[in-house]
Structure formats: C-alpha cells, structure tokens
Symmetry: D2
Subunit: 342 residues, 4 copies
Amino acid sequence: MTVRAAVAGASGYAGGELLRLLAVHPEVEIGTLTAHSNAGERLGALQPHLAPLAERVLEPTTAETLAGHDVVFLALPHGQSAAVAEQLGPEVLVVDMGADFRLQDAADWEKFYGSAHAGTWPYGLPELPGARAALAGSKRIAVPGCYPTAVSLALFPAYAAGLVEDEAVIVAASGTSGAGKAPKAHLLGSEVMGSMSPYGVGGAHRHTPEMIQNLSAAAGARVTVSFTPTLAPMPRGILATCSAKAKPGATAESVRAAYEKAFAEEPFVHLLPEGRWPATASVYGSNAVHVQAAHDPASGRVIVISAIDNLTKGTAGGAVQSMNIALGLPEELGLPTIGVAP
Amino acid sequence: MTVRAAVAGASGYAGGELLRLLAVHPEVEIGTLTAHSNAGERLGALQPHLAPLAERVLEPTTAETLAGHDVVFLALPHGQSAAVAEQLGPEVLVVDMGADFRLQDAADWEKFYGSAHAGTWPYGLPELPGARAALAGSKRIAVPGCYPTAVSLALFPAYAAGLVEDEAVIVAASGTSGAGKAPKAHLLGSEVMGSMSPYGVGGAHRHTPEMIQNLSAAAGARVTVSFTPTLAPMPRGILATCSAKAKPGATAESVRAAYEKAFAEEPFVHLLPEGRWPATASVYGSNAVHVQAAHDPASGRVIVISAIDNLTKGTAGGAVQSMNIALGLPEELGLPTIGVAP
Amino acid sequence: MTVRAAVAGASGYAGGELLRLLAVHPEVEIGTLTAHSNAGERLGALQPHLAPLAERVLEPTTAETLAGHDVVFLALPHGQSAAVAEQLGPEVLVVDMGADFRLQDAADWEKFYGSAHAGTWPYGLPELPGARAALAGSKRIAVPGCYPTAVSLALFPAYAAGLVEDEAVIVAASGTSGAGKAPKAHLLGSEVMGSMSPYGVGGAHRHTPEMIQNLSAAAGARVTVSFTPTLAPMPRGILATCSAKAKPGATAESVRAAYEKAFAEEPFVHLLPEGRWPATASVYGSNAVHVQAAHDPASGRVIVISAIDNLTKGTAGGAVQSMNIALGLPEELGLPTIGVAP
Amino acid sequence: MTVRAAVAGASGYAGGELLRLLAVHPEVEIGTLTAHSNAGERLGALQPHLAPLAERVLEPTTAETLAGHDVVFLALPHGQSAAVAEQLGPEVLVVDMGADFRLQDAADWEKFYGSAHAGTWPYGLPELPGARAALAGSKRIAVPGCYPTAVSLALFPAYAAGLVEDEAVIVAASGTSGAGKAPKAHLLGSEVMGSMSPYGVGGAHRHTPEMIQNLSAAAGARVTVSFTPTLAPMPRGILATCSAKAKPGATAESVRAAYEKAFAEEPFVHLLPEGRWPATASVYGSNAVHVQAAHDPASGRVIVISAIDNLTKGTAGGAVQSMNIALGLPEELGLPTIGVAP
C-alpha cells in the first residue's frame, strides 16, 4: 500500500518535521504541499534542510489543492483546521496537528481558545489506555499537544495504578521550536540563548486542560494540575518534571512495577534502568520517549520525568505513528527510535 | 578603609568570579591567590578573562601563604574549609564559599556530606530575616549554596507571611558552571548543549537540607521540600520554579503584598511588575535577584519564580555582599546590579 | 565633572548596552531616553536587565527631548543620525553609534548604503594611529562598526609595520546581537542555535569599506579585503580570523615585535602570551580586545586573530571610551576590562 | 545480502554515530561492539540515545572479539588502527575511521602524528575524482577526516577546473563533538557555550596535510593551505569558509558551471541555488553536504563555503557510504539526506 499524503502548512516547523519523516516513510508518497503567506515559493527557500524536496512549489491551502489524497495532514494555526477539514471527504484520513479537536469539553475550549468548539476526534496518543482501538480505522485524528504528550505519558501509569493523589505539579522545559517560526522579539536567538524563562504561569497555558483531561481519565477522577512551562535555550526537546503526593501504601517497588507494566510493550517508550534519568539530547529527532519514576519518602511524592522531542513524538512523529495505526500499517513504520546525539 | 583580601581556590569558577568582582571593588586590594594542583601557574593561563591579573602566580593553599590579609575567601571543595579556617586567626574575616559551615544540624551534614560536622557560621544571605544583624561585625561567614539562595529568596516571604502550607515543590534549572570546572564527560559541551537533564532527583541533592533549614525558620515549623535540580544548556543562571499549596484565605493580593513588603528595601532583589516573569538572562553577571509570585486558584497553589546568576548572587557576589556588611561597608559596594544582556 | 547624557534609541541592543555602562559611569548622569515605536513605554518592559532604570519612560526622538544634555548618544538605524544630529548644537557632544559618519569616501557610502553621504566625523577607534588626537575635544564622534573594530585592531599593526601584502582575507564569526533586536525569522533562537552560517559573502557586507579605509590608512596604500562574516550560535562576541601574505623578510619575531609595540600602552588591548589564542568568552561584557598573531612559514601568511564583545568594545564601550577622550576624562573610566566568564 | 558488522570503539562519538546509522541500515546486522576502558559495560549507560541497543555489552577490542564479521569498523584513537587491522583477514572489509591510513606521504604522517607510517588505503571520499573506482570491491577503506571532507568537497571543483591559484585560505568552524568524548576542561559546556575560539593556528592541525593531498591531486600541482580551525558553540557541524585567488579569466559563470558539473550526479552534495548559502543546521544528523561558491571581483577571490555534519558525512556517514560502494550496495542505502532542523 502506498498512500498519497498532502501537508497543509508545510512552511512551519511542524510541517517541516512531518516532511522529514514522510520523505523516508516506505508507504507514503508526498503529494501537495500548501502554505498561506508563502504560497508560490519553493520549499527549499523556506526549509533548506529538506534538500530532496527543494524544488517543490507551495500551493495555497484550499479544498481543491488538497483533493485527491489518501491522507491530509493539517499543520495550521489553532482554530483553522475545522474549516479545512469539513471540506475534505469522509473517506480521506485527516490528521490535525493543531488543537481544534483535542478537547472533549466545549467549555474548556472556549475558555482557553476563545472560539466555538469544533468537536472532538480520536486522540492520537496511542500509548494511553484505549487509544489504539479508537485510532484503528479512524478517518479523523487529533494529534496531542507537545506538553500533554510528555506529561500524560509521564503520569498516566501512576494515576491508572492509583499510586498518587489527584493534585499534580508539573514544571516543563521546552525548546524554542515549540513556539513556532513566526518572528517575535522574545524568541530571537539573542534573547533565548543563555536564558531560562517561564511563561503562561498559573495555569494559563492552553495545554493545561488537555493534560487534565488525560490524567483525569487515567485516574477515574478529576485531577488538578499546576503547570509551569519554561523556555529553554535549545531548539528542540521537552523535559517534563512531574510529581504528585504518593497515596498511602505506595512504595518504590509499586511505582516501578506500574511503569514497567505500562510500557512493557510500547515500541517508543523507553523506561530507563533504575537510577538513570532522561535527557532531551537522547531523543533529539526521534519518536522515542524516555521516562524514569521515583518515590521520595522524605517529601512523600512520586516524581516522574519524561523527555521527548517536541517536534517528533510531540507533534509530527506522533502524527505519523497514529496515521500508521489508522491505516493498519505497522505502528513503527518510518519512525526513528534513536536520537541524534551528541 | 582598604582591605587586603586573599583568595584560596583562585583557579575554579567561584574563585574566578570572585576575582572579577574584587578587581573593581573600591575598598579591596587583591593579595595572595592560591590553588591546589595549579599552584605555580600564572592566573592568565587558567582564567584568561582576568587579563589585568594575568601575571599573578598561584601559590599553594597554606596558613603561611594566606597570612597577613584582612579577609580570606575560601573557594575550596566541600569539606576542606574547616582545616584551613582553623589556622587563620580570629581577627581575620574568613568567608567560606563552600558548604562546611552552612548547616545547623550536624546530622544533616553527616547524612549529606558523609564527614564530621565542622560547625555553623553566620549565614551569608542578608535578605533573610535577622541575617544582617548576625553578619554585622562577624569574622566568619558561611556563604549559601546557589540553589538555596534562589529558592530561599523565592519562598521565605510566603512562609513568613503564613500564606502557604508546609510542603514545597521546587524544580530548578541551573547553568553548567554550578557543576564546577573539573572535567567530566557528562559536562562536556557536546553533551550539555541542546539538552535538559535532571540529576539528584528525589531529595538527593546536598542543597536540600539547606533549603529546608531556611524555609522552616521562616515558617516557624518544619517545611518539607521536594527538590529537583536540572542542568540547562547555558553557562550561568538559576531559574527556580517554586510552589506550595495556598493556605485558606491566601489571595493574589495578599501574596503580592507579602512580597512587596519583604523586598521593599532590598538593594539587590527586584520584584517584577505584576504579570512579568524573571529570566536568567536578565541577571547574567549581576548580583541581582529577579522574583515574581502568583496565586493560581485553579490548582490552589502559590507559585514563585526567581532568577539569579549562580556564580554572582549565588556564590561570589553573595560573598562580597556579606563581606561588605561584616566590615561595615555599604552593602552594595562593588557589586553590579545590571546583568549583561542580551 | 558630571555630564548629563541622553540616549536616542534606548530600546535596542546598542542602547541597552550603553545604558548598562553609563549607569555605573562615575561622571555620567543619565538623562532623557528616547525610542521610536516604543516611545511611551517603560524601559523595564523592554530591557528587563536594566532594573535600576526600569521606571524610566521612553520619549520620542526629537530635538526637544534631546535638548539640555552635555552628551547625546545616537543608537539609531543607519541613515537616521544625520537628521537628528544637525538639530543638536555645536556645543553638545554627539556620539553616533550608527554608520552615517564613519566613511571618508562619499562614493563608498552611496554604494553600500544607497543614500546621500552625510559627512565624516572623527573616528572613535582610539587605538588607531592618530585617532586620540582627533577625538580629544571633539564634539562629534563616529563610533566604528563592530567588525571593523575587531579587524582593524587585528591587522593595523602588521600593515603599519610593513609586514604583509595588501590583500587581506578575513573570516569573522559574530554573535547574533550584532543583527539587532528587530524580529526576523532567520534570527530566531530555533534557527541560530546549533548553526553556523555565512552572510554577505563576497564583499557585500557594509562594514567592508570601513575596514579597507582603516587598513589602507595603516598601510599607506590601498588594501584589498575579502571579508566573510558568519553568524555564530551565541548572543555576543566577534572572533575575527585575519590573514595576509607575509612580505619577504617578515619573521615570527618581527611580527611579535610589531604587535608588542602597537599595544604596549593600550589599556584595553591584551596581546596574549605566545601560543595562546583569544576566545570570545574571555571578553564577554567587557571593553577588552584580546589579540594574538603568528607567522606560518608553510603557507607564507601572517595570521592574526582578535576577540571582542560586539556590543561593548564593538559598539557601546567604544562609544564611552571615545566620549571619555573627547571630554578629557580618564580613558578607562567606567569601562570593564574583565569579561564575564565562564 | 545481509552483512554482519562489528564496531571497535563503540563508546565514543564516532562509534555512537555509526551505530545510529547501522541500526537502520537494511543490509546490516550489528555484531560485536568493543571498547577499551568501558569494556564490560552496557551500551545504554554510555550512549543513552541508542535505546534499542541499550542492553548490548561492550567487549574488549581484540582479534577474537572482532572475528566472524563481514565488516569491521575501527573507531579508535589515531595510531591504534594498524595493529588491530593486521589481525583481521584480507577477506574482511575493514573501515578505518581514524587517521592511520589516510596520508600517502610517510613524511607527512611522521611530522604530524609522530609515529611510523602504517600505509595508505583507498580513500573514502567517493565524490573526489577516481575515488569510487578505488573503493569498489576494496577490502580496506580509510575514512577521511571531518575537516578534509568539508574542505576538499568545497574546493576540488575549482582546482580541477583550473579556476584558482594554488594558495588556499581556509577558516572552518566545528562543533565540539569533533574533539571527542574524553573529558577536558576546555571542552566543558561552561567553557564552550557562548564562545568562539581558534586552535591549531598556523598549519598545526593534523588535517592540514590531508587537505593539501586532496587539493593538490585535483589541481595537478602542489597547493598551499592556510588552515585555521575554530571551535563553535554547537555539538555538531562544520562550516568551512574557503577561498583562493581567482586565475585570470575566471568568472562568476565559469565558477558556477564548474560546481554544477562536479556535483550534478552526486546524491549527497547539494549545490545551493545562487545567492543562498549553507548553514550547518540544515545538515544536522544527515549525510548531506551543502555547498555554495561565488566570485568576488573586488577582492579577486573565489569563495566557496560548505556545511557538513562532522559526525555523519564527516565520519560515520562517510564510512557507511564508502562501505556501500565497497560491497556493491546502492551508495545511498541507509543514509539520511535530510537534516534534523530546526
């Protein structure tokens, strides 16, 4: 089976990463590439690393240019996917890398995004309980946000196993590509190199309700999340430091056992040997998730740390992984599991 | 008054930063510089940025070489200060930049450092309640650790004002100079650039008991700390993201008021305007502390974030600030309050 | 003597660096600060590192707001200084940190900047032969470009001593702050971290005629320059690798002697001991210039490498140094000679 | 055909990069992995990014452990390959990633490496004239140095076409992984971040004679090289800025034509469209070479700039490419041509 794939939003970071992966996917043929303000330009001028695709000309994002593909990836700004998606037929697999269809609660959407809720699609984080069944054969996929990917994979086993209380505290560091390619002064290299800085403090980040949704589902109860994202001086990567109060009876052994069980069969999740902790450099450019968990008796907390590449597993790699499942292809097809290090 | 100052451990990062500051301090004359394995070498070969002192020759660290100074700074590995200090007379001001005399509890020292406790000296964090009185006229000063400096200044106002519960969760990112100048593979530029990684997870970091000591004193009760340090891809800086459950009745206004009150007269602490958050780049090379606090009703937590330069306010600048107080000099003398940015 | 100084263009990188220096200059009182699109804002929102000046409000750049100062610094985009300067009286010291008055040849200006030439002012690179005499007492100063500062100081001694042929090859690496604070996609942190890239290849960079002007003056003959600037993944610093064919008779000894003679009395130029080479980290945030020269018999070339901080010695520090001379103050007043390292 | 490959020196950067590539090579099965001081350890503790190989145990580097493979890669310190290679039978393909067999001139070897010359093997830079024929079917391959790869590919077309004089000036910036994984103080992250610094100035770098060898072969005459390597604050990548005086008659058109002809059929070399220049970020983790050339009439020089990943095309990727040729496999098999960007 060769599937023909279009990418809407090929000039940005998510679209560029997706093309890096699709270009070597053995069952994918890259079709139309579209852009908004860059329509008409050659891809090589915008994504110089994609040399084999350098001569491709970007087309405008319309129903016509996106027609005739088996799969359409939408790498568009939040709130723009719904209008495009409804013009694509039900037989086309639509993979939305934006936020439009991630949330189940319309009120959450309206509070954090300020527009009408477009709906909810099967959620493209296959490692969550029940996710693969929902993705198999689906024609619509909502790719998770990068922070929710890192945080949900870090904490869902502890919640699913009933090991922690329902108040999670999360501090995550992200590389700058998570903020996109639109030029802004605070994202200049001069500003970010040599600097760590927080943003969206106090639950203001739009990824917060998505984390709560995932962790609450795992816990079977409403989980409260204190989420502080920080911008780190690196292009890629998320390190999520997550913790919650241990429930009575939780031990180092029961924590370890829960994570071993949760990830035993996962092709992309690497639970590190005890005593070793993840580093974002180890997953640079790969679809892997590195995780470690510990129980700290002195503070009474379970601490779980995960590392992902925000553009690969956190966005484009997760999208391809979910596409593979939806199409009935081997889940790992075309996806790197080894990072580019050092 | 001109004081003659010796620096034991002039070849390392703390010693180098101290010399950068002392070289422009209007009341200090730099005397003997000592080192261990680098004794006999010229400073310029080891600290090329200290060009005006390049021809200085490092001497061995002995009672003889350190004699004849008004102030002796000890920038030695942990556990080595006590033996040197006891050879220096009671009339000499000894400023220990190591950990030896920071902790009040001998059991804590033994647990985290594995040797006999040498004692407790006046603690060189002048912004803490009562600290200036203990430092004034003192002949012995224990300079705080870099993480405890950032964390204690972030959280003590909330504890002193009774606004938060006694369980603090802290995730801090540090530049690599905090790990010192001894060559280790995991600190190579190839390893740290582009990477965030945790270490000492689960309360294992030696700075944990020092934080607990400071916060418990402010709270008037034993505070529990979950502390996770992470290594960030930058040479300097600490960003400490601290939070604790708000006590009933705490509000955004009461939190703001507590911090305004705590820092109103502080020359080095800059409480940012509401809504703006610290960045380590803003304090690069300065003795300033930038702080912001917020109350998040959704998670029920008070979140406080501070940024310091680990080598300046976190080590050598804090040492000079405390020296100024001990000697009766203006507290800000010779200390930069503006960072080198961008 | 206390001089009252205004800064036009206080919201950019050059203006910010200037304020960092002026804030601790013992003879300067900071007066009006102006900006263009940021007029009306508080400085703290734009330059968070300048905490002691955070409450200062930026005014528009007009003859009225700039009136009543002893010194006016112009940190404006190229081509805008002349119009402002002509409104300032002849009794005011005007220090232009832009390019408008650097070039002697009007044709060069028109070719590289595309507008009418405004004139030529005394050139603010005091280390060049004859420069101090022209600056002393002057009321107008043209601050050199950052690259010409690094390159001219590296090569003028070899040309002045007649040691090299008249074709210089220069490859320089610059930190990103040299490109300014206006947001552009190719200057985003995501783009520049981990990347070296050239620009303005083939003599297209506007600093080329300024280098030729300086080196030709030293040589007493027209010097040809091949100049390739590259963007390096760091916020600050220039490393200029310069070489030229050795003239017959030039030796390692004669090269060394020429540089020792040229810089023997220079307060800011540090000729490194033989065998050691400059690093930009050693001059971070300082007004120092580190230089080394060598003669390579195998290739027949003299190679000279210099390191500066592009914002300090390369812009704002050089401006203050020249101001000191013009006003009859000690040349080193208020200027750091020790970099912030590591 | 599946070939069984051993890697001697699997704990270092070159060995790690090789394993990243071999792990996804469709015709390679990874056999024995060896190390020196790390023998006995699991690979996961030393190369955490190689998670799928984490449980592999490193064996000592001996004839016995390396026996029974079709291909043996040697990623050993310079001077150690010859002793190992002579114990491997003539039927085994030995790919030496060290310097031992690169140079044709024994005197050059002795001058730069200080030991007896071991011999000369077919040179693994397939893009050079005649190289593929020498590699096809060969059982011994000398993989080029990283700098000679970048520089030779940049300049050989100009020399082969007779467009430039025989004195080349080269300034190259390299990421820190080129200096290896052995911990040294000057390679610490604290030292290299934010800093550009030269080393081996004046022709002292061991890669100089290798460049001269390659360029002289292309020119048909002895070429002189002035080579200055600099260390850049990034883990990977080489940007080589190369130039030489244009011969009379050389024009922008003849330069462009020479490069188009040289690289028209090359699968890994991407000659950029006119006016665009390479960036190391575009080839991060890929086997691609990005090149641009220009003629600068003002200085009379031809300037050519190339970008490679020093560990991929500059070491391990070049090794696999040459292995593919030697074994009669498709040259591009298993090698990425798209970098990980941003």
